[in-house]
């Protein structure tokens, strides 16, 4: 592809093309771009960056191991002793949340990734194939979508056996119809649009046409859906672990902690409130960043 088609957002598309005010220093341009982003996106990005660090290097943040219990210090309220208090077995809530991030977020993200990729492919297939192909794919997805996602996951886990990989695949499959439907709808609209018809007259190969003009427009809503789906997947993973189909109880999984602390809500609210808060923060941060990315993807130039 020549320079004219390169899509770098920062580099001018043509080296010799005159820019209105000349090229500014790199740092200045970065500064301008940061200022354009808005504070909510910045806060969310910083939070996600921290979460990524926590997932990668939990020991850097935790004050103790996730399973270190001290029955004498059970039900300690949040305060100077332990940052977020301790649970019924005297385990440090903060350290468990830090270590649990790995379980909850990785399961949710992997399941969402599987669901989104498979959904995009199936949706594209349904939208581009003829009536019969579309009908087969769509009806097949309807059958899947008719079951509640969590039930589908339970059935799959029950058949294949418990464990983290199974939970990921099961939740991923359960999420497929949702992505496939929206991609199929997008594909149907885009393939009838003027610019797709116009590109046919250029004599482009079908695969080029689909990758260049259909796919990017058909998937614009997937990031948004995926951010919502990520939250759902994290919750579903927690539910599965609660009924013993996911990571087993001592594992510091956020949803499991939430369920665990439920029994002590009246006298030790911190056991379940903080893991819940962690889920909320992560889901909100992901969705804020997701929406921002979507705006960028749509490539809307301000008039």
């Amino acid at each position: 592809m020549s320079t004219i088609l390169s899509r770098g957002p920062v580099a001018p598309l043509l080296d010799d093309a005159p820019t209105p005010d000349g090229r500014r220093p790199l740092l200045v341009r970065w500064g301008h771009r940061l200022a354009d982003v808005g504070w909510s996106v910045m806060v969310a990005s910083v939070l996600l960056l921290v979460v990524v660090l926590v997932v990668a290097l939990p020991d850097l943040f935790a004050t103790s191991g996730p399973l270190d219990s001290d029955p004498l210090r059970a039900f300690q309220p949040p305060g100077p002793g332990g940052l977020l208090g301790t649970d019924q077995l005297g385990r440090d809530v903060w350290s468990r949340i830090v270590h649990g991030a790995r379980f909850s977020i990785l399961i949710g993200a992997a399941a969402t990734g599987i669901g989104a990729v498979a959904g995009v492919l199936l949706g594209l297939l349904a939208g581009l194939s003829g009536r019969i192909g579309d009908e087969v794919v769509t009806r097949g997805l309807d059958v899947f979508a008719a079951f509640p996602g969590i039930l589908l996951a339970i059935v799959l886990v029950a058949v294949v056996g418990p464990g983290i990989p199974t939970v990921i695949v099961a939740l991923g499959i359960a999420a497929v119809p949702r992505y496939a439907r929206i991609v199929r709808a997008g594909t149907l609209v885009v393939r009838r649009s003027g610019f797709v018809e116009q590109s046919v007259t250029f004599g482009l190969r079908r695969i080029t046409l689909v990758l260049r003009h259909v796919l990017p427009h058909a998937v614009v809503n997937v990031p948004i859906l995926a951010t919502i789906g990520l939250g759902t997947a994290i919750l579903a993973a927690s539910s599965l672990s609660f009924i013993g189909l996911g990571p087993r109880p001592p594992s510091p999984e956020w949803g499991a902690m939430l369920a665990d602390g439920r029994n002590y809500l009246s006298n030790a609210w911190w056991i379940s409130v903080y893991p819940g808060l962690a889920i909320v923060l992560v889901v909100v941060a992901v969705s804020v960043v997701g929406r921002h990315l979507q705006r960028r993807l749509e490539h809307r130039e301000q008039p």
């Binding site: 592809m1 020549s2 320079t3 004219i4 088609l5 001018p12 598309l13 043509l14 093309a17 005159p18 649009s193 003027g194 610019f195 018809e197 116009q198 590109s199 046919v200 007259t201 250029f202 004599g203 482009l204 190969r205 079908r206 080029t208 260049r212 003009h213 990017p216 427009h217 749509e298 490539h299 809307r300 130039e301 008039p303």
Partner: protein
């Protein structure tokens, strides 16, 4: 007595975030409409004509602020009126016919209910009696079987009937003034003639009217007095006949000169000097045909019903020739264009493109020939991938020909230059361009792979008349420079008459008349062509 009397109307909008304050949208407009007169405001988009019309019913956009030294409707000062007062004026004192009949009717309500609304709102009749009034009203605007039509929904009505229905709704409150904003835009020429006849009849019956239009010919037919607006101010006004025959202001002259017609054939439309300059163009090379289509037939099936869109159409276009296809909506002209473009496979018939078989072959074979025929679409913005910049859009038609690197870049610059856009447009997004610039980009893209044939499907029908003139001039120049043949699809007889060498007249999927444009337009033989030409309003024809 004047029904409307306005002095020094100002309408302005606040500055967009981070930008300078825009000039006022309407700046110091004076308007008087004597009782029983028809006054027209003519102007291009952005001239402030629609805002002026909307100010008469208190429907300016929320963000707009307005003031006037005098603003009287039917003798009443309407400055500072509240929403409730305006509601009493709307429909009762001023009837408003909105632009675009096709979308201005509620698809979930019958035509009768829509028209009855004004009558019931203003308590002009009791519910039971309203129905009779509605039927009488629909009959009076020339809707056949008014009692039946009143019970029908917009999708069951043709464009002409919908527009008449809207006018009936505007008249329902027996207003002192009827404001019609572009009442015939988007209508076929014969339907437009019927609507204009209806407005003329209402005027004869004593109805005061304010007509808003971009089309001088429409105005010429019914208005007594014309105001020409530009950038929010009235540049010239006067009695219709005098203004159109001897316009004083250069802008009015330019507008009149920009109207394509038989008189402008072989000349440029957009000259800024006084006289028309001739357009130098080599004679088409009739010995070499670029495309030949024979006996094309295309039937569309929708469930059990089938509709013959194209029924035995044959055509040929020679190198360097411009062939026009004129017809009203549903005539099959666009389907013919799509068959020639290889986007639709005909049920029967054959197309030969540049000496090769073009119909009935596989897409893989077709791809090698695709660059020979390129499309200029009616809506350029819709034909651009919204993510692409101008450079990417134009460059894309070179991809299939595997033109890359420096050669590709050079070609993009070359065609941008040919359509009189500079290299500074390369990184722009089409959304930030004006309508004329977008159509230029679309033309540049079509030219890039050096096609032998351009198919232009209504390329200027969405443009203002002066922009249309520029684009038509550009097409003429490009044809002279490159020798490309053009198949020009249009509903606008004036445009086709202006630039086509030969013309095909289509109706109901058939070509009813074909020949040299000069002959077809001056001596039409088929009754349908005669009807089309008779319905065409022209600037020369002035209301008496």
């Amino acid at each position: 007595m004047s029904v409307v009397s306005i002095r020094n109307l100002q309408v302005s909008f606040p500055a967009p975030r981070g930008r300078a304050l825009p000039p006022p949208a309407v700046a110091g407009l004076d308007l008087d409409i004597p009782a029983g007169a028809c006054v027209a405001i003519v102007g291009e988009s952005g001239s402030g004509k629609t805002l002026t019309a909307r100010s008469l019913v208190g429907l300016l956009p929320r963000t707009a602020t307005w003031s006037a030294d005098r603003f009287e409707i039917a003798g009443r000062d309407v400055r500072g009126l509240g929403r409730r007062d305006w509601r009493r004026i709307r429909g009762r004192t001023v009837g408003f016919v909105l632009q675009d009949a096709l979308v201005s009717l509620d698809p979930l309500r019958t035509l009768g209910a829509e028209v009855a609304e004004t009558i019931i709102t203003h308590r002009l009749a009791r519910r039971g009696e309203a129905q009779d009034q509605v039927v009488a009203l629909l009959g009076s605007v020339g809707i056949p079987d008014p009692a039946v039509r009143a019970g029908q929904y917009p999708h069951q009505l043709s464009g002409g009937l919908r527009q008449r229905g809207l006018i009936a709704a505007g008249l329902a409150g027996r207003p002192a003034l009827l404001v019609a904003d572009e009442p015939t835009t988007a209508l076929d020429v014969t339907v437009q003639a019927q609507v204009l006849d209806l407005l003329a009849a209402e005027k004869a019956a004593g109805l005061t009217q304010l007509l808003i239009s971009h089309d001088l010919a429409v105005v010429a037919r019914i208005a007594d007095h014309v105001l020409v607006m530009r950038h929010g101010t009235v540049v010239e006004e006067g009695p219709t006949a005098a203004l159109l025959s001897s316009p004083a202001h250069p802008y009015t002259q330019e507008l009149l000169r920009a109207v394509p017609s038989a008189a402008s054939r072989g000349h440029r439309l957009g000259s800024r000097t006084g006289d028309r300059t001739p357009l130098e163009r080599p004679e088409p090379d009739t010995s070499r045909t670029v495309v030949v289509a024979e006996n094309l037939v295309k039937t569309y099936r929708d469930g059990r019903r089938s509709r013959v869109a194209v029924d035995g159409v044959s055509l040929s276009v020679a190198a360097g020739e411009t062939v026009g296809i004129v017809g009203e909506s549903g005539s099959g002209k666009t389907t013919v264009a799509r068959i020639v473009l290889g986007l639709v496979t005909p049920d029967a018939g054959e197309v030969i493109l540049a000496g090769h078989r073009w119909s009935g072959i596989g897409e893989a074979q077709r791809r090698r020939l695709r660059h020979e025929v390129q499309l200029i679409a009616q809506d350029p913005l819709g034909s651009f991938d919204p993510r692409y910049t101008v450079g990417q859009i134009i460059g894309e038609s070179l991809d299939a020909a595997r033109i890359q690197g420096a050669e590709r870049r050079a070609r993009v610059f070359e065609v941008l230059d040919q359509v009189r856009l500079g290299p500074q447009f390369l990184d722009r997004h089409p959304r930030s361009l004006s309508g004329g610039q977008r159509q230029r980009v679309s033309i540049a893209r079509a030219l890039a792979p050096r096609p032998q044939l351009l198919v232009a499907d209504e390329p200027v029908s969405a443009l203002d008349v002066s922009v249309q003139a520029d684009i038509l001039d550009l097409l003429g120049d490009l044809q002279a420079e490159t020798g490309t043949a053009i198949l020009f699809i249009s509903h606008d007889l004036g445009v086709v008459n202006h630039l086509a060498d030969r013309v095909l007249v289509m109706t109901g999927g058939r070509v009813v008349e074909e020949g040299r444009a000069v002959e077809v337009f001056s001596r039409p033989r088929h009754p349908y062509t005669q009807r089309l030409l008779a319905a065409l309003p022209s600037v020369g024809e002035v209301a008496t």
